[in-house]
């Protein structure tokens, strides 16, 4: 069984051990709308914007092909592109940073 820890529930500290799954939990981070990451691993087929471009909400930023489907990745809100980190043909992994807004 996993490592010894204290677990606090309703202000009380319990001596216990934790499961591997519990130990590997990622702390919660709120979604950052200024960073666009790959929601699935795949290949970049097209990039429609460049650094400095102002984009509308819903405007297509790039095309990420995965599972034989060309997925349009759209802007979540109106913004200015700060940097594009990928080019057509790049293979990207899940969660990889693709593009940043100002």
């Amino acid at each position: 069984m996993g490592e010894r820890r204290t677990l606090i529930i309703d202000d009380t500290a319990y001596e216990t051990r934790v499961t591997r799954k519990f130990a590997r939990r990622q702390p919660y981070a709120p979604k950052d709308l200024r960073r666009v990451a790959a929601f699935i691993p795949g290949v970049i087929r097209a990039v429609h914007v460049a650094s400095g471009d102002r984009v509308r909400k819903g405007q297509g930023l790039l095309v990420l092909e995965a599972m034989k489907m060309q997925n349009d990745v759209a802007a979540p809100e109106e913004a200015v592109v700060k940097a594009v980190h990928v080019s057509p043909g790049d293979t990207v992994s899940k969660g990889q940073l693709l593009l940043e807004f100002e």
């Binding site: 309703d10 009380t12 319990y14 216990t16 499961t19 691993p41 995965a66 992994s93 899940k94």
Partner: protein, 514 residues
């Protein structure tokens, strides 16, 4: 042709058909630590009890050169036999014949033995060792899988269904085991996944080994798909045999009684739990101190181990045990432990196995990950399963029973027939610390010495509420008992509950929060 010659020829034909994929393929199988299909069956069954059927069934596929291929038994062995005297229907896929691939004839052999199992009212055991669908047979192969899934579902809760994964079990094939009651896996031999490492690599670019993706350890510890893990096939078969002794043949019967045995000496129930509710201990020691021969047969021991489930006996009668495990995650309920317990409770209820619940938990696990993973939806399953169950339900509150956790763990309010509590039980809305901090928040903040005042209020709350007596005074607890009276109270409760009847309003089926 003389009679003798005909009989002789028949033996020759049988030898050919039982030769499987031939000596080379069998040698390869054995080199991987795997037994050939028939040896597996005879290793599980009582000696001399295996009777094989459909030995001469073969495929009728004409495409892709299949008309010229003869596949002995079409890659699966089916029959009936006995395990420690209990009759079972059994099938084993034969990897040495066309990789154990599933074509229509192969599937029809399996569905035939499944139909037998349901009609005869005896358990079904399936041994999976197959590369998957027989591609040459196309949609007929898919039809075969679908017909198996359909029967697994209709047989669910009617006869016990056991799956033993002894080789690859990939793609659609995984769903037959997933629909059965108990899945056995063996280290380095079992491999289960929907899409294999090759596909994951080409499609997604993620690299993972077969073992890391869906090996025995992963299925037993991470995914919770498997119920029993072992190091070798023979160890696995011993587990299968033991399981069969705890469960009935079908849903109209009860498990065969065993000779009554006392718990083993040395299991002293009086000294197991620490007095402080924040200190851990192994709840399995309590179970062993109470049950026959101190023999507790744990299920899913490696997964969601903050709850413990398994079979034991009281005076020879099979019982299902559910217990919070303070040693792991303080024994909290969370997504996985709720799923684990709920499924086990439903198995016991379907097969007339009384439920004994041992309670010691601080509540549900806090955290964003739990909320986002749907702890509301999953946690509801345990409430549903306990409330729905009509088998005798007996609850023993050992120590903490706080808040929603108290309600969920087979409280009187969810229909427990008997609720006993040890003198160490604390039945309350929450732990004294948390409660005092909320009730006296303003007073604590205003006090000259907030810390001393808070401690005093915690002590007061503990004195007043952290005991079994308020619950007992309200009739939510039937008896406060000394730990060493636990076995006697449980044995008596089980004994007098033999004829328990509890009816439910008629309905097609409920809608559990799947």
């Amino acid at each position: 042709m003389s009679l003798l010659k005909r009989i002789f020829e028949h033996f020759l034909k049988r030898d050919q058909a039982t030769a499987g994929g031939g000596p080379k393929a069998i040698e390869k199988q054995v080199a991987q630590g795997k037994l050939p299909a028939r040896e597996r069956i005879t290793a599980i069954l009582d000696p001399g009890t295996f009777h094989e059927y459909d030995l001469f069934v073969e495929h009728k596929c004409q495409d892709f050169g299949m008309d010229k291929k003869s596949l002995p038994g079409d890659g699966v062995v089916t029959g009936t036999g006995k395990i420690l005297g209990h009759p079972v229907c059994i099938y084993a896929q034969d990897f040495t014949v066309a990789g154990g691939s599933l074509g229509l004839a192969h599937a029809r052999k399996i569905t035939k033995i499944m139909d037998h199992a349901v009609k005869l009212g005896i358990p079904l055991i399936g041994i999976n060792d197959s590369g998957g669908a027989r591609i040459q047979e196309g949609v007929n192969s898919l039809a075969g899988y679908g017909e198996i899934f359909y029967r697994n579902t209709l047989a669910s809760g009617v006869i016990p269904q056991i799956s033993i994964i002894l080789g690859p079990c990939a793609g659609g094939a995984v769903y037959s085991p997933a629909l059965t009651d108990f899945v056995f896996v063996v280290d380095r031999i079992s491999k289960m996944f929907i899409t294999g490492p090759e596909v994951i690599k080409t499609v997604l670019g993620e690299e993972v080994t077969m073992e890391e993706l869906g090996g025995a350890r992963v299925q037993a510890e991470i995914s919770g798909n498997a119920h029993f893990y072992s190091e070798s096939e023979l160890e696995c078969f011993e587990q299968v045999k033991k399981l069969v002794t705890f469960i009935p043949w079908n849903n109209k019967k009860t498990a065969d009684p065993f000779p009554a045995r006392f718990p083993k000496a040395g299991a002293d129930v009086m000294t197991i739990i620490p007095a402080e509710p924040t200190k851990p201990y192994d709840v399995r020691d309590v179970i062993r101190a109470v049950c026959d021969d101190s023999d507790f047969f744990e299920i899913q021991a490696l997964w969601a181990s903050n709850i413990v489930v398994g079979f034991a006996r009281l005076e020879g009668q099979s019982i299902g045990v559910v217990a919070n495990q303070p040693k792991v995650l303080a024994g909290v309920l969370d997504v996985d432990s709720s799923d684990k317990a709920a499924r086990f409770i439903r198995f016991c209820d379907a097969f007339n196995i009384p439920l004994v619940t041992f309670v010691d938990l601080p509540g549900y696990l806090p955290g964003v990950d739990q909320e986002h993973a749907g702890v509301i939806r999953h946690g509801a399953k345990i409430l549903y399963a306990y409330s729905e169950a009509t088998v005798p339900k007996i609850t023993v509150i050992l120590r903490k029973a706080y808040g929603g956790g108290y309600i969920a763990m087979c409280s009187r309010h969810l229909g427990a027939d008997f609720v006993f509590a040890w003198p160490t039980a604390e039945i309350a809305v929450m732990g004294p610390e948390g409660a005092a901090n909320i009730i006296f928040k303003a007073e604590i903040a205003a006090a000259k010495d907030p810390d001393a005042f808070r401690k005093q209020k915690v002590a007061e709350y503990t004195e007043k509420f952290a005991s079994p007596y308020i619950a007992a005074a309200n009739g939510h607890v039937d008896a406060v008992i000394s730990p060493n009276e636990t076995r006697d109270f449980l044995v008596h409760a089980i004994e007098i509950s033999q004829q328990k009847t509890e009816t439910r309003p008629p309905r097609k089926h409920g809608i559990p929060p799947f």
